[in-house]
């Protein structure tokens, strides 16, 4: 087997086909001159593929070598000029590249600067808040007292003043008291606040009960809306920031978490449904349509070769096998189509297999590999799976 035999074999095939078709042409009442056109077109297409040296080529072949040297010469002649152009272009390109690159770099730097600046601005409130939290940790008692007082005052107004006084009296602190309690404090001396607290204990108890019940009612009615009045009402930065941090963190994270969980659930359900449909019994419409389309494509593409090229087999395989097999088959076939020429068409006399070693005896084959055609009368192949 060799590539040189291909030309004569193909010429023989062409001659046989032309001769055999002469009768068919006459039967159809077609002028025989069409056969010459067919032959020329056939040979032209074979020559264009450069599969081998064909007998009908030698006539153009002698001119071809003479044409071939000028072509390289022309290429050589044009190459330097091309190289010159290329060099010029390359010389121009770096300058042209430097120009756009530097602004781009500047832009990127500027962009980075902006980007860096923005997180800085964003981070600063956070750090301030954390700083505030640290301050709150430093003086927890005062802050707790202030917050309690502020909350009570905002929610219950002057009714809470007694409770606030009670709190302050319990703590016996003066320095950390907020402004509004400070206005009320002069009414009672530090020493008498405890007495007042004792004397007003009953009233305060009722107020506290009312306050607590009112808190519960308000909490139940407003839910999370309990916080905004606190934030709006308090002028103090520390509780404001702290509440904002908590609220912002809690609210946003919980909302996002729900959405994420929903998506995860959807994905899990879909995956489970797909795994259930994996057997092919319950095919979604999309996939079924895809499959049908691929079958139609293959059948239309393989209409000429008919059943002997295995087209029908592939259809059957796709109809029966699972989705995994289908995808694999399709991928392989697509690869084959992409490879195009790398194919051997032949008859087999014997195909044997011992474990993973295959031996086959083939005959009457046409092999096209690496853009060249080969014909063989007999071939033996050994390969391992």
């Amino acid at each position: 087997m060799s590539n040189s035999a291909v030309g004569n074999v193909y010429q023989q095939i062409i001659a046989d086909v032309i001769e055999a078709s002469r009768v068919d042409l006459e039967e159809n009442g077609v002028d025989e001159s069409i056969l010459d056109e067919l032959k020329q077109g056939w040979q032209r297409k074979l020559t264009a593929q450069q599969l081998a040296i064909f007998p009908w080529d030698p006539k153009p072949d002698p001119p071809a070598p003479t044409q071939a040297p000028p072509a390289p010469a022309a290429n050589n002649g044009t190459n330097p000029s091309n190289q010159g152009y290329m060099q010029q272009q390359q010389q121009q390109q770096p300058s042209a590249n430097n120009m756009p690159y530097s602004p781009a770099a500047n832009n990127s730097v500027a962009g980075d600067g902006h980007i860096k600046a923005e997180p800085g601005v964003k981070i600063e409130p956070g750090t301030e808040q954390t700083g505030a939290n640290h301050q709150a940790q430093v003086a927890p008692n005062e802050l707790v007292q202030q917050r309690l007082a502020a909350n009570l005052r905002n929610q219950f107004g002057e009714r809470a003043s007694d409770t606030i006084k009670n709190l302050q009296a319990g703590e016996l602190r003066h320095g950390g008291a907020p402004q509004h309690p400070g206005q009320q404090r002069p009414m009672g001396q530090p020493g008498t606040q405890a007495q007042q607290a004792n004397a007003q204990g009953h009233v305060q108890y009722r107020q506290q009960v009312a306050a607590s019940t009112a808190q519960h009612v308000q909490a139940a009615q407003k839910g999370q809306g309990q916080y905004p009045p606190q934030m709006d009402g308090t002028t103090e930065e520390q509780p404001y920031s702290g509440v904002l941090m908590q609220k912002g963190a809690d609210g946003e994270t919980t909302e996002l978490g729900r959405v994420e969980i929903d998506r995860m659930l959807h994905a899990a359900i879909e995956a489970k449904a797909k795994s259930m449909e994996g057997g092919g019994l319950m095919l979604p419409l999309k996939r079924a349509n895809k499959k049908h389309g691929s079958i139609q494509q293959i059948s239309s593409a393989g209409s000429g070769p008919s059943r002997f090229d295995g087209g029908d087999d592939e259809e059957d395989d796709e109809a029966i096998n699972s989705d995994l097999d289908d995808s694999d088959d399709n991928g392989d076939e697509e690869d084959d189509d992409e490879d195009g020429g790398q194919i051997m068409l032949c008859m087999y006399d014997k195909v044997q297999r011992v474990k993973n070693k295959w031996k086959c005896v083939l005959k009457d084959g046409v092999l096209s590999v690496n853009g060249k055609d080969y014909v063989f009368h007999k071939a033996t192949g050994e390969y391992e799976w």
């Binding site: 060799s2 029908d312 194919i343 005959k363 590999v369 007999k378």
Partner: protein, 113 residues
Amino acid sequence: MATDKQSFYELYRQSSVGAALTDALDDLIMETRIDPQLAMKILANFDRAIAEVLQNQVRARLSFKGSLDTYRFCDEVWTFQLKNVTFKMDSGGQVVSADKVKIVSCTAKPTGT
């Protein structure tokens, strides 16, 4: 021979010769020089011609080795996908290697009898 036409494989229409003939016929059909039925008859003639020529006029032998990627046998058609194949031509001692080759092979028994 008319009855024998059915016994020839259309397998070789995939080959480069068959594809070239199909393209040439397509051109003529597009120009409405011939009708498709005549083209099918010519292709049937090709099926017979290439089988006879390959059987009677080709004497070359070939051996090849490689690793088998996939194999399939259905309706008496073997389909092999080989990787890293080396073909040895007995006549010229020529060696051709290819990364990937597909072999489509029909049984030789119907034509052999």
